[in-house]
């Protein structure tokens, strides 16, 4: 049952090691719902370099998870369709590959960690069996060797007493431990890119911090590219290198993490940062962004954020969709007034 043939699968045919690790260009995804095409991702651009962490931040429904599913090629289709753009891994456009090639890319080159680790592990097989299966199937390892690798991996992700835990079933692990097992599975085949889709949302706060530290440590050790999808700005602050803020299927701001926290160039990001509860603001009401996230089936005209925007120009923002503007070196924002917002003048 050689599902991947030997080491050849480790190098994607046609790939160029000098090209950026992962580039997403003008990615578009639509969902066909009751005969209508509803855009979920509307032209997303970003690049991920080896050893870097990109945080993709956004509200529910902003297109974060759909973007990651499109990159993995696991979009449920129908109803979801990738309608345009490119996803290049070391220069190879994955969207042009056949299903067989895409399958070998999954796990070997790009892996993903899901939010809910309990449902992402098969309850009927032991953790060690599920981990070992990857080696048996993809690497042709024997039963013994596979179990040994499974123990090593569990040890690497910080599961104490890995030797005894390897035979346990998923329900015998706590939430944080399960997420570690998930991370171990994603790491098993040495992917170059790891996508973590809200890896800590289902966990309690102390465990969240441990998992984030683990992800950062592993990324450091293996020099991977990490895409961290989250709706929690606080989580990404000390892990990510770059941030992409998503709103209504677009990346509205993309920059270095320190830059975004210090000087956001998009009013949405600014509002998000203001909405983070602060310890020094005890007794004051929490800031909120008025209104609701837009319905992707009926997006507002012009800038999709303008009905909720404090800085909107009622005429310009309602009519004209803003382009990506460079507020500073390497700091892009999709706003007519990016420069003014960046300088805090608006």
């Amino acid at each position: 049952m050689a599902e991947t043939t030997g080491p050849a699968a480790d190098v994607l045919p046609g790939s160029d090691m000098n090209a950026p690790l992962l580039e997403v260009e003008d990615l578009r995804v639509e969902f066909a719902v009751r005969g209508r095409r509803i855009p979920a991702v509307r032209g997303v651009n970003f690049a991920l370099e080896q050893g870097k962490t990109l945080a993709v931040v956004g509200e529910s429904g902003s297109g974060k998870s759909v973007t990651s599913q499109a990159i993995m090629g696991i979009l449920d289709s129908p109803p979801g369709f990738v309608t345009g753009g490119e996803v290049r891994l070391r220069g190879v456009d994955l969207l042009q590959q056949d299903e067989e090639t895409r399958r070998t890319v999954r796990g070997n080159h790009i892996a993903i960690v899901f939010q809910d680790a309990l449902s992402a592990l098969n309850p009927v097989w032991s953790v060690g069996f599920q981990l070992g299966e990857l080696y048996r199937v993809h690497r042709g390892a024997g039963r013994r060797a596979a179990e040994q690798k499974a123990i090593e991996l569990l040890d690497q992700v910080g599961i104490p007493d890995a030797k005894n835990r390897v035979g346990h079933y998923p329900h015998q692990f706590s939430g944080g431990m399960r997420q570690r097992v998930m991370i171990a599975m994603a790491l098993a085949l040495d992917p170059e890119v790891l996508i973590a889709d809200e890896p800590t949302t289902a966990l309690d706060v102390t465990v969240q911090a441990q998992i984030m530290r683990l992800l950062r440590r592993i990324q450091d050790e293996r020099n991977m590219g990490l895409i961290l999808i989250t709706h929690d700005l606080g989580v990404v602050a000390d892990v990510a290198d770059d941030v992409a803020v998503m709103y209504a299927g677009q990346i509205v701001e993309r920059a270095n993490i320190h830059d975004v926290f210090a000087r956001p160039a998009h009013p949405y990001t600014k509002a998000l940062l203001r909405a983070i509860p602060r310890v020094d603001a005890v007794g004051r009401e929490l800031e909120v962004i008025p209104g609701l996230p837009p319905n992707p089936a009926a997006l507002p005209s012009g800038c999709p954020f303008h009905p909720r925007c404090r800085a909107a120009d009622p005429e310009r923002c309602g009519d004209e969709e803003p382009p990506d503007r460079q507020a500073a070196e390497g700091h892009l924002a999709r706003c007519h007034f990016a420069e003014e917002v960046y300088r805090d003048e608006r």
Binding site: G107, A120, N122, V137, R165, Q172, M185, A186, L189
Partner: protein
């Protein structure tokens, strides 16, 4: 890392699996134990008829026909002789094997066919699902009896060579053809339920092929509900076999099955030879009852919602 783990989770915890739990739950119920004993008895009788009788069921002496047993369970003919003068106990014991073989082969074939089709339909959906589901509807609409009667009349009158396989094959084919649907529906439902679970997506994200996903992730989930209906279905196959035998189209003489005995016994039941009818009937009812009880208990034990 300084997390604490439960220290006791070492020795016995990993062994607690669904099947072990189910077994333990069932072993505690007296009705299940009783049913299991009957099943064991019946299966042993089918496997080793020599343990229960030393008579040859085909050695029949016309003079001794319809000899009532003078002393029950003892003597030359413990259960008397039948209408042809054969030892009745031997006939019953040797009739068990065709009955059980038929029931088992029908169920094994039905489960294989039903599960394969059900998993394919549920997993791939689309036109594959449409074709399989419509075929299933067609077979469900045809009443089992009518379908079996039509099909078996094709084989009728061919007699039987006494070879077990040949004796059972026509009835097995007919009953399988109209028996796979229930398993198919269960497998399809379980597959649809499973295929969108996160762990299937996760497996796909790690580069698993469709075939692997079906065997490793979908199949184990379909096995549980199907196992639960297998014993009950075994019972119903035995009943249907008897019905076919009464109509004269089941297992063909000279081979015997419980159904054939029952059918022969009806002719003499009114004439004071009630045991020729009553003993096979009692055995049949007892067996079907034990299969049903076992199946019920198994379903309860395997269904986590009922625990």
């Amino acid at each position: 890392m300084t997390e604490l783990t439960a220290p006791a989770a070492g020795a016995d915890a990993p062994q607690a699996s669904l099947w072990k739990d189910a077994f333990r739950a069932m072993a505690r119920r007296p009705d299940v134990l009783f049913a299991s004993l009957i099943m064991l008895f019946v299966f042993t009788m089918a496997a080793f008829p020599g343990l229960f009788t030393d008579k040859d069921p085909t050695r029949c002496i016309g003079r001794e026909a319809r000899g009532r047993p003078e002393t029950w369970f003892r003597g030359e003919h413990p259960l008397g002789t039948d209408a042809f003068g054969c030892d009745f106990a031997a006939t019953i014991v040797h009739g068990t094997r065709p009955t059980i073989t038929l029931a088992l082969s029908v169920i094994v074939l039905s489960v294989l066919i039903g599960m394969t089709l059900g998993i394919l339909a549920g997993y791939f959906g689309g036109w594959i699902d449409a074709v399989i589901s419509r075929a299933l509807d067609v077979f469900i609409v045809i009443p089992l009896m009518m379908g079996a009667i039509l099909l078996l009349s094709l084989f009728r009158g061919r007699g039987s060579s006494g070879n077990l396989l040949e004796t059972v094959a026509p009835a097995a084919i007919a009953l399988t053809l109209f028996g796979w649907m229930e398993f198919c529906r269960y497998a399809r439902a379980a597959t649809i339920e499973t295929k969108n679970l996160d762990y299937v997506t996760a497996a796909r994200c790690l580069g698993a092929k469709d075939r692997r996903i079906m065997f490793r992730h979908v199949l184990p989930n379909a096995v549980v509900p199907i196992t639960a209906i297998v014993p009950t279905s075994l019972g119903s196959v035995i009943v249907v076999e008897a019905a076919l035998a009464v109509l004269g189209i089941g297992v063909q003489p000279p081979a015997t099955s419980w159904g054939v005995l029952l059918s022969n016994g009806t002719q003499w039941a009114g004439g004071g030879y009630i045991y020729l009818f009553g003993i096979p009937l009692g055995l049949l009812i007892l067996t079907v009852f034990s299969f049903a009880t076992f199946g019920d208990a198994l379903r309860d034990a395997l269904d986590p919602k009922l625990r």
